[in-house]
């Protein structure tokens, strides 16, 4: 399957597929990444019903609309239609951001039997203690900011590569962390859109935030931290 799609992309790039001759280069489109675990594997912290809807419906919709917007953007660029190019920016930020953020989020979670909830060790663990005093203190801060966020958005643990420190930030809607400051790298993001928890926790977002730590995948966050702080 992978080979076939590789061949298709190459064919497109060489312009051998006649219907694509009008396009000077192939447009990379995106598809829904598989979850590295079953929908029900994060229970009882996050229900299987939520995971399935969140992945198959919400994330998929962002991807579908992102691809659509990119196609329209490419066309507008080729035609020199500046008005459309600019008009598409919100759709791209929103849907592209949705794709970016959720892709990170699935990696931020892991079933308990695969290390979900195990505290960070190594350099990230040390950096957390240095920046926040303790893991508990960091968790408290993230939960407070996540609960206080009005409307829809995300709460992040990020690495500020410029200032060389860990920070807790929130972003609105589907704005990726990098829109807050360009040198921010997301290590861990928690989705606080209502769709992320409503069926299970209803209006009690603080309960969702309290419970999600049981399935947070610190191994992934550590990996990103080590790579980006090298």
């Amino acid at each position: 399957m992978a080979l076939r799609s590789l061949a298709t992309r190459k064919t497109l790039a060489l312009g051998l597929n006649s219907t694509r001759l009008t396009q000077s280069r192939a447009l990379q489109t995106f598809s829904l990444p598989d979850l590295p675990y079953d929908y029900g594997a994060l229970e009882p912290a996050i229900s299987g019903e939520i995971m399935q809807l969140h992945h198959q419906k919400h994330h998929q919709t962002y991807i579908t609309n992102y691809n659509k917007a990119l196609e329209q953007l490419q066309e507008a660029i080729q035609k020199g239609d500046s008005s459309t190019v600019v008009k598409l920016q919100t759709a791209i930020k929103f849907n592209g951001g949705g794709h970016i953020n959720h892709s990170i989020f699935w990696n931020n979670l892991a079933p308990i039997r695969e290390g979900g909830g195990e505290p960070p060790k190594g350099s990230l663990g040390w950096a957390i203690d240095t920046n926040f005093g303790s893991l508990e203190s960091l968790v408290q801060k993230i939960n407070a900011e996540g609960a206080a966020l009005q409307g829809s958005g995300w709460v992040w643990l990020g690495l500020d590569k410029e200032l060389k420190k860990l920070v807790v930030e929130t972003t609105a809607n589907q704005d990726p962390l990098v829109t807050k400051r360009p040198h921010l790298v997301p290590l861990l993001g928690i989705d606080v859109w209502e769709h992320a928890y409503y069926l299970q926790y209803k209006n009690v977002r603080p309960d969702y935030l309290k419970n999600i730590w049981k399935v947070i995948n610190w191994k992934y966050a550590s990996g990103v931290y080590e790579k980006e702080s090298a």
Binding site: K57, H58, G151, H195
Partner: protein, 311 residues
């Protein structure tokens, strides 16, 4: 202007809601002396200045379109929390005693939003939302309202399409509105210096989070809540289905009508007031002895060489 204050926990009508005034259960207000007495103890006692008003129908009355469970959470938890938070944020501050709509305007602060805005606006928005719906709602409006819709949108069908589209494309949390815009430009807070009959228009607007058209000085007529909590239990991710259901089965055109009449009346009153003030200005005495300020104002624009300040 101030909302009626009452310590009693059973529901009483305290919100001045724009337009539709519903029949309320009569409720004895606390005697003024008692109220003052309680204020002295305000440090420990949260005076319930604003109360959670129930929807004008029972929580299961909108079934099967909007479930009782949704109303129980949406009204019983979300709306209630906004009201409780509002009271906590207002007590002991300058905002205490103001009408809800005044609090909204003050805390919107021209976009530089102050903390109590979210609670105040969301308390208002949800009241307005419940009153925008009714059991057996939907269908088409009639009379003046339908005429205006057809004038400003071409047809009722096109209005419906545009309203549904606004509701579907509000990114993140927020609201879609039908509003009456009288002599205001299509830009926030801009007053049309050359108002005309053509300015009095119906418009569809969408707003994020807690923002509502009161902050742009429009008259809201109809709203749909598109925060996910409004539809997730019944429709999950299918926002478009929720919006269609709302239009077809729940909209209370009576409420919208009543609000439109009220809006037109208020707009007319405002116009008369502005005329009156303009006439007063024109007849103001221009005696030099009296008003130095006026002359100073003129001089600023007449002579740019002279940069001397006040005389």
């Amino acid at each position: 202007m101030a909302a009626a204050t009452s310590m009693v926990t059973s529901s009483s009508f305290t919100f001045p809601s724009q337009g539709l005034r519903l029949p309320t259960r009569s409720h004895p207000c606390m005697k003024p002396q008692q109220r003052r007495f309680l204020r002295k103890y305000a440090s420990n006692v949260i005076t319930a200045t604003y109360e959670l008003k129930p929807p004008p129908y029972s929580l299961n009355a909108l079934e099967p379109h909007m479930s009782r469970e949704t109303l129980e959470y949406h009204w019983g938890k979300h709306h209630r929390t906004y009201v409780e938070n509002l009271n906590k944020q207002v007590v002991g501050t300058d905002l205490e005693g103001l009408s809800l709509e005044d609090i909204i305007t003050v805390t919107y602060n021209k976009g530089d939003i102050l903390p109590a805005f979210n609670s105040a606006a969301q308390a208002w928005n949800h009241d307005f939302f419940w009153e925008s719906m009714k059991p057996g709602g939907g269908g088409k409006p009639s009379g003046d309202l339908l005429d205006l819709i057809e004038r400003d949108f071409g047809s009722f069908e096109r209005f419906t399409e545009e309203f549904k589209s606004a509701a579907a494309t509000q990114f993140g949390s927020g609201w879609a509105w039908l509003a009456y815009k009288a002599n205001r430009l299509g830009v926030e807070n801009a007053v049309n210096p050359w108002p005309s009959e053509n300015d009095k228009k119906l418009v569809i607007v969408k707003s994020p989070n807690a923002v509502n058209p009161l902050v742009w000085d429009y008259f809201p007529l109809l709203t749909i809540d598109v925060w996910e909590h409004a539809f997730y239990l019944d429709f999950q991710n299918r926002r478009a289905d929720y919006i269609s259901m709302f239009m077809e089965k729940l909209v209370s055109w009576e409420a919208v009508n009543a609000r439109l009449e009220n809006a037109k009346a208020q707009a007319a009153e405002r116009e008369m007031e502005e005329e009156r003030m303009k006439n007063e200005e024109e007849w103001k005495p221009t005696d030099d002895d009296d008003d130095d300020d006026d002359d100073e104002g003129l001089e600023m624009y007449v002579d740019s060489d002279d940069d001397s300040e006040a005389e």
